[in-house]
């Protein structure tokens, strides 16, 4: 069920103010404007639709409860990203998810002759992502998937940009290897 939005377009901060005062409809509206990106992050982190919905339910409810603590130091999007990523990491740790990827499946990916071949199977990206550790996965999803800067990713992950850069470098190397892409990116 989509939220019935009758209010004129408003800013995030307007919606946040209303939500803090208990207007859950405003919060739902606020969330909907960011849901596409959160859904991508959650799905790419968890690689499972049900798990995606579960972590987003938790994340959105947590965000609603914590809204009073939002201090607008960063954008609402960054703040929400942080919650979603943290919930994903917690869920992964709790369930001790293992990447069940065989060498054979990776070899099949590597045998693809072009990037286009690999594009044809979005599962290949997810298979490769699942071979990364959760920390590496989150940073590559945020920077290469979401297009965030190192600084934005660092803010979300509560770490330093340098850490993001080094972790990203390793994540990219591993991901490219898993996907059968050449070591150096095609500029």
């Amino acid at each position: 069920m989509m939220v019935d939005v009758t209010e004129p377009p408003t800013t995030d901060l307007d919606l946040i103010r209303r939500a803090i005062n208990g207007d859950h409809q405003s919060f739902a509206h606020l969330i909907q404007t960011h849901d596409d990106r959160m859904r991508a992050v959650a799905y790419q982190m968890m690689s499972d639709r049900n798990a995606m919905d579960d972590v987003l339910q938790i994340s959105y409810l947590k965000a609603f409860r914590s809204l009073a603590a939002f201090r607008a130091e960063a954008s609402f999007s960054s703040w929400l990203h942080r919650i979603v990523v943290n919930v994903c990491l917690d869920e992964i740790r709790k369930t001790q998810r293992k990447a069940e990827v065989s060498l054979e499946s990776v070899a099949n990916l590597a045998s693809s002759t072009s990037i286009e071949d690999q594009y044809a199977t979005s599962a290949s990206l997810h298979t490769a992502l699942q071979r990364l550790s959760p920390d590496m996965r989150s940073v590559v999803i945020l920077v290469d998937g979401q297009g965030l800067s190192y600084q934005e990713a660092a803010l979300i992950l509560d770490t330093q940009a340098g850490t993001v850069a080094s972790r990203l470098s390793r994540a990219r190397t591993a991901l490219r290897q898993h996907l059968g892409l050449p070591k150096e990116s095609i500029q």
Binding site: I31, A40, R93, G147, R167, S169
Partner: protein, 646 residues
Amino acid sequence: MNNNHNPGSRNEQQDPDLAELFRVDEVPTHKSSFWSDLQTDLRTDAAVRKSQPKNATAPDPTTVYQAGPQPINDGEQPPIVSLDQARRNRRAMPLAAAAAVIAVLGGVAIWLGVTNIDSVEVTETAAEQPEPGQLADDDLDVGSSGDVSGSARGLERSDGDSSSGATTDDQNATSDSAADGSSSPSVDYTVGNPQMANLGRGSFSGFSPNNERVLVVDLLGNGQTGCEGAEVLALYSQDLRAGDRVIALRDSFVETGGLDLKILGPVESDGTVKVAGTDFCDGFRNTTWTATMTGEGQLTDVQKLAIDEDVELDVGVAFVDDPFEQGDVISLSDGATVASPDGQFELVRTADSLVIADQDQQRFELPFATDDLYPEIAWSPNDGVVAISTRDSQGRRSTYLWDFQTGKTSQSLTDEWTRDLAFDSSGQLLGMTVVDGAEQSILVVNFGEKKSFSTANAASSPNEDSATPDNPGQPSASKPCSASAAPPGALTSNGVTPAAAETMANIDLAASMCDWDLFEQLVDDNFTASFGGGEAIELWQASEQFWFDGDMGRKSTMQLLRQLLREPSGPLSDRSEDGTAATVWPQVFNSDRGCDSYTDEDIASMGRLDYGPDDIDAGCEFAEGYIGFRTAIADDGQWMFFIAGD
């Protein structure tokens, strides 16, 4: 499917290939009930909040906070059960008490290598130990979140009314020491300007048992790369006064992407203390071990634990699952609780607050908002104060001392970003890591008599016992090569070409003498060393630098290399990337030796290469085969690789 979830515009920091893959990735829509379910949850939550008084965070004195098993950041309030129910639970399975005892007794379960506790034996006497401090209802006034001046009321503690019930010896020991302070000198934490000293670069990992040194994790600092291309780290012991750093733990292959160390305490009669640590490497495997730390901070008797490689020692002993399920009771992963030294209280981090939980009756919220960050917490050994690094409601970072008796913030120590807080065993010193961008340094706060502190002394002699982060030194001329003794088995050239046999002999010779010059002649630009880069010989030199006999209970890199060449070999089959005709050691590496075909001889061979049952399981799970150390020599005599991992 909806594809507008990934931004179309790119920035220069994106990898274009990967960005394109993400862009076209098909992300499913929510299941149909998602939004209605969320609306219901939001409506319910809003209604509950609306019905609550403004100070709704004040605890209900008739309920008990079920401390211990709360996961982090799950957005849910910890379960609260009735006092009666809690008491019944405690009699049946008083795991909260067990948690504290485990933590206080030095992570006994961890020390014993326990990963799953099927039964935690806690006696009735443990459950009926003297009740800790009783509070009147009007003591439950909880300060507003973010009020750093603090208004949470203090906890009145019993002074060890031992007549009211028997306790175990261990509990007596800890309770008594906390109650009368016999083992911890009285420390005045109200002193306005405690001495502070920055001891140099690195990440703080604790104090040595004799309180004269700090344990520091720092870069090896010679430009080497190790695990997955990460910089190589080492654990150092640094003298507080002289500043000299010596290596506290020498691994046979310190390629770690990180190193966590937790002191499990208490200090033994011989001055040692039990510790646990994790070497971790993103994307590879973690190794968790226990060890004995000498009074001077050196680690000995390192024992690898047979626990999941995903484990990290982020917090220490903690519970992540419902302990009443008797499942994975102990986890070293992110945890939410820290037990007080006397085991009577636990500091619990909830989704957005810090709570002191009296295991019997009460819970008390500390006046600190925790947002969704991970606040750092340390109890003083005499329970006098709790040191907390967090942010207040205005977003200001600070490191506070919160007085246990008064329930007030006694002082703010620094407004820098700090973590890894820990007191020394005297309670006079508080150490922490200060994070300033990419730089990390050690800060020690002294609440006792003024002392002379020195920063890390990088000018120490770079010999094996005083290597510094900036100058790790090289093996001294007098230090024997770790692999000078020939390992079991014969070096045979059966099945290899004469050229390969010559190379094999030269490799063995070089390894036996740690002859780096000879190694230089044996490797070329196509040679592959382990773990994602770095110059092979530099890696081996670093490995040799850290190794010393028996310290890790496993072979040095050079020993492994020599052992490899004595294991069964075979033609490198289809796991060769370019089809080069070559011989590989061990033979079990070949892909036609699938996990189902392992023989007892294979398993024995892998065992000689420090590749035990857990490694076999992990290799079969993740890579369908052996992923331990292996080496290959081409038929033309070219040494191809000496690597480990997948």
